[in-house]
Symmetry: C2
Subunit: 226 residues, 2 copies
């Protein structure tokens, strides 16, 4: 059982409002997990009964649509919390969380967290602001889905991936998504996604290095995304 005080999640999430004693309480009741790439943290419809702290590894939050395709709603990176909405709403998870890389997470039971809501106003406020940020992002995302073309969305997503998750030494995007997952982010068929990647490649906006993607002309790509 490791301490929570130096944890990356504590530094970047709502938990930064917690004091030493509160952190000790968490350290006592938390459980740590390793989750392999491709495995779920939790799945749509499941009762989570607590929150997950993402110590390492990125995961996707996705929802199965009635057409059988998986739409990726959000990517979650180390330092962030998972499952806040379900915990507050006291509802089953609305989304599935699946590891895109090997992950290290800690689970904190609902009962512990709920105590902090009553004791620690700054913590409540932090959680509220995080969820408000998610809501703003979701609204913007929704407008993009409704109003932008697939090509515009692809361009925007590639820029987002580079700016959020960075590049490898060879300049390719650090976060490895399959073409199917990339299609699931922009909301299109896998073939359409592949075709547009080829087109961007031909036009020298990006370069395809095997299945990895390198952004060549970020300015043009940004203009394309509007």
């Amino acid at each position: 059982m490791s301490k929570c005080e130096q944890c990356i999640v504590r530094q970047f999430s709502s938990l930064k409002a917690l004091g030493k004693e509160e952190l000790l309480k968490i350290a006592e009741c938390k459980t740590s997990y390793t989750i392999k790439k491709g495995e779920p943290v939790f799945e749509e419809g499941e009762m989570t009964n607590g929150i997950y702290c993402v110590k390492d590894g990125v995961c996707k939050l996705s929802k199965l649509s009635s057409n059988g395709k998986d739409q990726i709603v959000k990517l979650v990176k180390p330092g962030e919390l998972l499952g806040q909405r379900s915990m507050i709403s006291e509802e089953p998870a609305n989304l599935s969380a699946v590891a895109l890389e090997d992950m290290e997470v800690c689970f904190i039971p609902r009962t512990e967290i709920m105590q902090f809501f009553n004791q620690n106003n700054q913590f409540s406020m932090n959680v509220m602001k995080t969820i408000c940020g998610d809501l703003k992002d979701a609204d913007e995302h929704m407008v993009n889905m409704a109003q932008k073309s697939v090509k515009e969305r692809l361009a925007g997503t590639l820029i987002y991936l580079e700016e959020t998750f960075g590049k490898e030494a060879d300049d390719t995007l650090r976060l490895q998504l399959s073409r199917e997952e990339l299609a699931g982010m922009i909301g299109t068929a896998t073939e359409s996604c592949i075709r547009l990647l080829s087109e961007l490649n031909k036009n020298n906006l990006i370069e395809l290095v095997g299945k990895r993607i390198k952004i060549i002309d970020k300015a043009k790509l940004r203009r394309l995304s509007e």
Copy 2:
């Protein structure tokens, strides 16, 4: 200056957690407005510095997309609060709120509401749950935009409008949206929206009574929306 105790907003919103004294404080500092159909309550980018209680009349929350079209993100009905996200995030409004009918609203300054967050845990929890509900809706909405066809979204929207805002005596939808606004809800071009309405009319799923819409075969419409 009327009392807040019997107000519809108090009954249906997060404000139901407030006690008599708190309601009196609100009654003293609130300002009431009448907003005519078509006029904004607030606009994207504006600092709102408080929340609006919707006593009467429906309004649309929309966002201007880079292609110049207005995407409707949510409809807000009497009893609900407006501007919670901006107030909590301490940011300018992300969306414009425009009256679809003549409205009656009350404005409560940010400073008052923030006090309740510190004093009244139930109130905080209510606000948090409301925003969590909005986030869940937004995620679902986003998946629909990304994965469903325009026809499916139109069918779903018509059902939503009937179930949420009801029907007139002649069975037409009570809430009057222009074709452009309906297109803005489902995220399509106005002409496409009109064309699909005509098609649903021909297939006897709906009936067009002038510019009003009557749902004829709700079961088929629901199946169509999946």
